[in-house]
Subunit: 553 residues, 2 copies
């Protein structure tokens, strides 16, 4: 069998930090299966998501466009009708596009209704599912409170657990994401004091193996069928931080790396950063007790993910798919885990905005780069472009803002590669915006990062933030108010301006079509600037010569 | 009858300069009917279009959004599916939206097909017609050359002329836009040497009276029907510059005002400006012979427009519509007519980018401002917002970027009115871009103007342009390379950056919806940052308390 790219297995983890992998240098966490893929592919060590939050990050990754371009700037902000996705691009190229797991996509119901696009039709169903055909769609957030469920769709995972005999209303929570106290009470994974308990579920029924089984089932069903992209989109190691046995006990507080933080960060912080430090999450993760409970569970969740990768890759080898499948492993954002006095994601420190990215290309053309690490500035929107090129298409640069990574896989870095990366964050729907008194359009952040400087602009009249990654790789010293760095800040603003003026919405006409229009209107009779017609070849005016027609009075 | 706003008559001329009206101070051209409307309404003396070219300008006006926001950046660049228009906003408010005349809208056929939106349905028909129901759609450009027609639709105007007995294939050209030479040959209006001849058509059959008749017919048909907006969109005084008798002879070279230009403009000009000066149009309009032929015809076309306004306003008075109709008169851009060594439009000198704008509001609330001139910085996208408010709606600020002018009509200028106006120009499809060696995404210009400074940024690595409208109201001295103005240029770049980072695509969720989301996820069971649950009211965690369910092995 010739090694080729026939399929694409696009694996995304959720909230997986770039540095919580063996191959990325974690001192305690061993991820041999993922490391093995890195050894056979290229690891991109400087990959930024376009927004450090699930929904916005994914909408960028699935469209190949910046957040400001597609507008779905936060969780549950709908992706507006008309935004093209990986699925719509690949389907034109004869490649199916399937989803197994999470997208966090909210359909633009009002926009669909306005255009008469119904979910009952195949077009509308795909529009509502971010361009994918869902093999199984499950966003993994079946939280429930006084106002009902966070996600009001049907839960395929709960349906699965019910079929396995878990006979409570919401086994996602009561089993998969809760342990048991010594007194026999439910120990909800939402309460981080319980993070060291085993989840009250059979390991094979927990979310990560469940999705792996669906992926293997999918690939079995698709043997010999049309080429496919399969977006295998895991929910973990995202919170709730709780994991079934034996993973709950694999790591302890001795394997918790010290937090990257310094008291000086709390002196005169940027007002937006300060808000995040002072919210409930930041305060909780600043406590050692919380980190010592949560991080071993987080590591256990990753360890389980890695074991499932082992299972998946074994299937790929056995079925021959390793010969014809481009495999990508990445994440939608990281997790502060107490670094910089923060929890969760949202801001632009490396642990939040940088993600793992490993690409395995089965072709002989990629043999020279196997096992290498590429430190080029990658934006996760590059994946959409990569997939289009991998599927044999030409990247429609008037729509997809990312660039194909295929040249890097073939060992030929483009000379005109980008010199800075962009990420954005819209916190308009958060209490932090309310605390700062910001209108929804002012609660927006922009990151501009090159290989040395990382800059953040905040709308709303705040000063910027700036880190020197050379002298301060841990990003502990904010130079945003430093007069000595005014020139750097100006230069970063110039880059932000260049990017902000980009051509992002001229999506209904291609560059090639525009080039084809140049100077053509004369040949359809639009004759400007002529005095007597001698200025142009006679053929352009011949239709307007000859005897005048008679005018009846 | 109480004076109220029940209907909106939105009159647009094409290529009408702001200063070619009696009420704007033209020394020779008398436009008593338009002036009379200005005397009964408000004339906005500083109104900028969002792009000085038909298609892009109109797509901004019809969507209420900047060119970079909707992407239809030049003539025949499609308006992508999903962009909302005046029609879609007003129809929700119970107001119909009708078109009589020109839009220059190109439907996004590929986008419609991708979403399964068919022109055969009422939704698709409106999407394809920029949100309007066409009473008659006629873009007035029935030019024909070796490659066929510029506009491949059916021509309603040619059908009308055929019905009137003009029995040639293309009477738009051969009659309406051509005269007769002394030898009896056709004197095409495309050749400017013929601009002083009368068009070979009965005056009442020429384009301007034809559309006026359609508008009166429309209003007669709609008596007693639902409220309407009627976009009466004239084709004139746009080229070809030729007009029927008696208008062809009303003005002569003695009424041609001198060109606003200076030889110093040709020394070291901005490279983009230089390209436009040196193209066929710029060269032609730099000749006095051309101006002396063309400008009297242009004035005659305007005079005919004004006479048709008289006819229209008489109908409005007689039918009672003057009591219940908001009336707007404006244009889609100006015409250089030889000023600054240029013809046509395209760049940002006042004669190109500034347009007339007169609004008559029948309500008593507007009585205090009748006959006044408002010099606030108006962008033509403000009209969409004005219409929505006039129709009783609230302006959806997450979609419509313009702001309502109703407060100005009521004599109450908002305190937070904009301090600068934006216009854009995309010349990627022109020979000028080819001459400059520019890729399609680099052939883009941006204007930032306040009441003193007018600044132009050009992508592609060029210096900016800058004019001081106080000391140089004729815009003859380009300060874009002046070291003394570096501070002003920096400030204009900062404004451009602020604008470029605007929130333009978050259109699928309103600000009110976002404010309603703040802090709500906890009440749907997303409980972040909790250690033992004591951090929040008990009701938020009660669902996650109680005995643990039994786990079957």
């Amino acid at each position: 069998m010739t090694r080729q790219i026939r399929n694409i297995l696009f694996i995304m983890f959720d909230q997986l930090r770039w540095d919580y992998l063996g191959c990325a240098g974690h001192p305690f966490l061993e991820t041999p299966h993922i490391d093995a893929l890195a050894a056979r592919g290229v690891r991109f060590s400087r990959t930024y998501v376009q927004s450090p939050v699930c929904g916005a990050s994914r909408m960028s990754t699935y469209t190949g466009r910046y957040v400001s371009s597609h507008g779905a700037a936060w969780n549950n902000f709908p992706l507006k009708v008309g935004e093209r996705t990986i699925g719509s691009h690949l389907r034109r190229l004869g490649m199916e596009s399937w989803l197994i797991g999470k997208t966090h996509m909210k359909a633009d119901a009002a926009g669909m209704e306005e255009l008469g696009v119904s979910r009952d039709g195949v077009i509308g169903a795909r529009v509502a599912e971010c361009g994918f055909d869902p093999w199984v769609r499950d966003d993994g957030l079946w939280g429930e409170g006084p106002d009902g469920f966070y996600d009001d769709k049907r839960s395929p995972y709960n349906a699965y657990l019910h079929a396995q005999g878990y006979d409570v209303a919401n086994p996602w929570h009561d089993h998969a994401n809760a342990g048991v106290t010594e007194a026999g009470d439910m120990a909800s994974g939402w309460l981080m004091q319980h993070a060291d308990r085993p989840a009250n579920i059979r390991e094979q029924d927990s979310e990560t193996p469940w999705l792996t089984s669906r992926a293997i089932e999918f690939m079995e069903a698709k043997r010999g069928a049309a080429p496919w992209l399969c977006h295998l989109s895991y929910i973990k190691p995202h919170w709730p931080y709780i994991v079934p046995a034996p993973y709950h006990a694999m790591y302890g507080r001795n394997q918790v790396v010290p937090p990257v933080r310094h008291p000086s960060e709390r002196a005169a912080p940027h007002p937006v950063y300060e808000q995040y430090m002072n919210n409930a999450i930041g305060r909780a993760f600043s406590r050692d007790a919380v980190r010592d409970k949560v991080i071993p569970a987080y590591m256990g969740l990753i360890k389980q993910c890695d074991d499932q990768m082992g299972r998946l890759f074994a299937y790929l080898e056995d079925s021959g798919r390793m010969e014809d499948t481009l495999i990508v492993i990445t994440s939608d954002h990281g997790d502060y885990l107490g670094d910089h006095w923060l929890g969760e994601k949202d801001l632009f420190h490396e642990c939040s905005v940088k993600v793992p990215l490993i690409i395995f290309d089965p072709r002989a053309e990629a043999d020279d780069t196997r096992g290498t690490v590429c430190d080029a500035l990658v934006e996760q929107i590059d994946l959409a472009a990569t997939f289009i090129e991998a599927a044999g298409g030409e990247v429609p640069a008037h729509v997809v803002e990312g660039r194909s990574l295929m040249p890097f896989l073939e060992g030929a870095a483009p000379e005109d590669w980008r010199s800075f990366a962009i990420s954005e964050y819209d916190y308009s729907a958060t209490p932090m915006a309310a605390n700062l008194g910001l209108a929804p359009r002012d609660a927006r952040l922009f990151m501009v990062a090159d290989t040395r400087w990382k800059f953040m602009h905040a709308e709303g009249g705040f000063r910027p933030m700036l880190f020197d990654l050379h002298s301060d790789p841990q990003e502990l010293t904010d130079l945003g108010a430093s007069p000595a760095h005014a020139g750097i800040i100006d230069a970063m603003y110039a880059r932000l301006g260049l990017w902000a003026r980009r051509m992002a919405q001229r999506t209904a006409i291609s560059d090639a079509q525009i080039l084809g229009m140049r100077g053509k209107s004369r040949r359809t009779g639009i004759l400007l600037g002529l005095y007597d017609g001698t200025e142009v070849p006679e053929e352009l005016t011949v239709r307007y010569r000859g005897p005048a027609p008679h005018l009846k009075e």
